[in-house]
Symmetry: C2
Subunit: 202 residues, 2 copies
Amino acid sequence: MRRLSHYLRALEGFDRNGGGTVSSEELASKGHTTAAQVRKDLSHFGSFGKRGLGYGVSELVDRLRAILGVDRAWRVVLVGAGRIGSALFEYPDFKARGYDCVAVLDSDPHKIGAKWGNTTIRDTAELEAVVVREQIDLVVLAVPAVAAQEVTDRAVRAGIKGILNFAPVRLKVPAQVPVEDVNLVMELEALSFRITRGGASE
Amino acid sequence: MRRLSHYLRALEGFDRNGGGTVSSEELASKGHTTAAQVRKDLSHFGSFGKRGLGYGVSELVDRLRAILGVDRAWRVVLVGAGRIGSALFEYPDFKARGYDCVAVLDSDPHKIGAKWGNTTIRDTAELEAVVVREQIDLVVLAVPAVAAQEVTDRAVRAGIKGILNFAPVRLKVPAQVPVEDVNLVMELEALSFRITRGGASE
DNA sequence: CTACATTTGTGAAGAATTTCACAAGCAGCC
DNA sequence: GGCTGCTTGTGAAATTCTTCACAAATGTAG
Ligand SMILES: NC(=O)c1ccc[n+]([C@@H]2O[C@H](COP(=O)([O-])OP(=O)(O)OC[C@H]3O[C@@H](n4cnc5c(N)ncnc54)[C@H](O)[C@@H]3O)[C@@H](O)[C@H]2O)c1
Ligand SMILES: NC(=O)c1ccc[n+]([C@@H]2O[C@H](COP(=O)([O-])OP(=O)(O)OC[C@H]3O[C@@H](n4cnc5c(N)ncnc54)[C@H](O)[C@@H]3O)[C@@H](O)[C@H]2O)c1
């Protein structure tokens, strides 16, 4: 469920404002759903929250973190030190959420050996070794489309647990390895689709 | 429907390989759905495709382009010439799809006046003027979260038609203005969610 | 022209998701 | 303790999305 992430985001806003509890109504108003939806979603994972009061903010944050798996550190390798790769590498929110970019790989001899902060860009040839030695959980794939499948296959064989893919191709992976695709062109197409047909309907 | 974009992507692969027609079966195998789904989706917009044969590739491409609104050029302004902004600006697939980044704005005096290719970074203060004068359709928002709502409000007032938002906030907009959010942290959370619960289930 | 092999378009069945509605639980107050 | 005012948790209804199944169309081959 994608909405759980939204709830977590919204809750963190409340947390800072000292509030002790939130009602499903309040949670729904952020994160654009209904109160009933919020309750259904949460009840699906257990029943926290006190009747008559609402949900304890910090308790619910902890629960959601556990459900989403953000209550631990994830070790990430970035493959492809290009434009998108560098933007992602420096994005502070990843680290803040426990996604630790412990290695950066590229195949371009001009880039290998360069330093980004304290991190040295290494050769993609080391992928398998890095995954195993550094106990990598996730790959962020920011290589050109033609290279994406090959890198994927090698990462999967090395025992990676999941892939965030920016290349506009559908990766073939075994069913146990989840892939999330980010395709910016598709987002723009969704926009123009919604504009050309009148319906807004977020 | 997000799947239409996938169909278009898949079709373009076929197009180059000279093929005259595709069956719903073939389209389904790429883009991970079923043949029935493909037919339902397409029939919802009219009935092209010949029984016994399949869909004419180039005709279907044209139809999908029209449905998605990619059969025209979209004029885009990029607001926020930071790390993500620069990656997006240079991303060739946007232009290839008809999304033309005709202006780049930023509020940082050190960046204003710099050139990216032939494009000069201008002051965000000019936003309204640019939207009107350059007939901008879409805003790509790549500014820090705190600035996002303000830029949005101004763009909306200036008559923007849609927003692609990279800032991790839920923008308040009138119902006629569609917003697509890109939130990379949420993608990673979706990954770790799927990993921690066993289910792959793309 | 007729039989045949395909593949679409679509109503109907089935599944999944969302909304409704309300009993049950909790805190505060008298 | 016994009301009162809220808010959760959750079956049941409603809605939306997906799959099934098959008649209707189209090209081909004999
Ligand atoms: N730039 C964007 O805004 C953007 C947006 C969405 C998606 N993407 C996608 O992200 C990918 C990268 O885009 P980019 O703009 O950063 O491109 P880029 O050319 O700037 O960077 C690609 C990097 O990958 C490296 N590389 C190539 N083959 C490799 C391999 N086999 N192993 C390791 N590294 C390899 C290259 O040396 C280069 O450094 C592309 O698939 C692109 O379609 C980019
Ligand atoms: N870097 C990433 O990989 C990444 C990924 C996802 C989302 N984001 C989001 O994208 C946004 C930008 O991230 P970034 O990493 O590019 O940050 P950045 O700091 O590199 O760039 C932000 C740019 O916006 C400019 N800016 C600030 N206020 C402005 C205003 N009012 N008008 C116009 N320009 C203004 C700044 O001068 C700067 O150039 C943030 O909201 C961030 O959360 C970034």
